[in-house]
Amino acid sequence: MRNISLLFRSVVKSLMLIMATGLTIGTASAQDVKEGESLFKQKCTSCHAINSDMVGPALKGVNDRYSEEWLLKWIKNSQALVASGDEQAVALFEGHNRVAMTPFPDLSDDQIRSILAYIDDAGQAPAASATAEGGAANNNDVSGFMLVGLGIVIVIALLVIFALNRVIRTLERIIVNKEIEIVDEEEEPKGPTLMDKVKVLSKNKRLVFFAVLMLVVFLGSAGWKTLWDVGVHQGYQPVQPIKFSHQLHAGINQIECQYCHSGAFKSKNASIPSANVCMNCHKYVTASDKYNGETSPEIQKIYDALDWDGQNYGPDQRPIQWIRIHNLPDFAYFNHSQHVSVAGLECQNCHGPIETMDEVYQFSPLTMKWCVNCHRETEVNHKDNAYYDKLVAAHDKLKEGDKITAASLGGLECGKCHY
């Protein structure tokens, strides 16, 4: 008890100390840092990060590397500074592949100072992550407490086993004492054996008939279902090479399906995105805040496939071999663009609640019955739909009593004969 209260008191003390020092440092520049943060996010993050090189270099410690006066000039117009022959500026420009930094003549000196204050503040962020680690350690303590609890349970269980053993031993002693009587008792109820019972039951014709009927029904229905499901992959959820979550990308982040599956608009194939589409975001997004500053191992797999070192693509590239889930047989023609662009169906119509799937599985059976049922029920929306213009025109002609030719139904299209 005393230990705990002592611990608590020391924790409170150190917390207060930290807060006090934080306040003394913080009060003076808190406003600037906040303003700097919003400015930094507006103006700088397209190219810079605090801790890692992106388009521009990492900005951590930039206040120590350069003087404030120089930084003010550089940020307002870096190219003018380079042109003026400033040694530091030329070295920086040459050192970064001669990529020019956007000039910001509209930023005031005070605004730039608050951005620098924010960079300084954010550069010390590892301290924050250290406290986060401390939190994690506390979590470990909790699991340690559970371990102790488990240990106690195990000890109690052992005690129970020991006690039960003692009971069994005493009971055995009693049995040994009265052995003869027990043997007698065992011999006494020697009535009909199991085999005898089965023999009696097998003479009951009704029962046998019932059992056979049940067996036939069971095997028949199981066989029927199994045969129906041959080649139907509904619910198929293979393990993919990368744990890509549609729940995260399409659900939480609300990226439209077509951003990655851009073929769905205009092609038979909805297309699996090539890795450069991943890199549109993942050049920047590494989820490192969830992995102690390291790149997420799943995102790292994209980088490995592209031989990406953070700046350039290397020569050792290989495709990511996703496992195909939806596999329509080759004798059935299916075209995504016809369903997505012409009919205007949502992807979810066939693929189910894909935005909630952490791992994708096949939602629909993709059987002919399933296709045909939908085609029977779905009304065609021909208004403002260029695809049906010819069809509607032909019907209008018929209504007016005009004669129509094969050509007006698309009979002159090359593919009708030369397919």
Binding site: Y259, S271, S274, N276, N280
Partner: protein
Amino acid sequence: MLAMNKTKLFGAAFAAVVFSALVSSCGNKTTRSTGWEFSRNMYDPIGYNPDQPNDNFLNGATAQVPPAGTTPVGFIRFDNYPNTPEGYEAAGAEVKNPLERNEDNLKHGAMLYKSFCSPCHGPEGHGDGTIVNMEKFPPPPSYATGTSSRGGAMKDLSDGKIYHTIYYGLNLMGSHASQLSPDERWKVVMYVHELQKK
């Protein structure tokens, strides 16, 4: 005797129902295996699917890059304008949108913009897309009020400059050439001009 049989019969029926209920409720209907298949060769295509492995090519993929120096049907080459500041400026001065500005093209452009651009650039092009608002990706400059990192105001960007940026990407924006065909890019350019006014 009969009474005993009855209870046994009921017991057996009850057990059967419980057993079948348990078996059928197992799992969430997903499986790691495709299950039984019959005459698999009727399902597998004779021709190759675009994303299928292929031993006939050195890199093992069916989808091959077109041979050097060839132009796919319907493609407009953009090689004269390399991914350099000079190429960007040249494209901005010389390249014009070949498509007619009409309602259909703008509508299609708006649809493409919504899918491919708005996650970052926002529905109105203010640089406030859903991803940006979640602070998962830094904001791009607004088309109407921002400054381009290559100098000048975003609202003054010309056809060629916008096309160049879609084609090659810029800063954190990646190239969107593989997702958008040349025509689609021009439709997006047309719609971005609308957003520059907002």
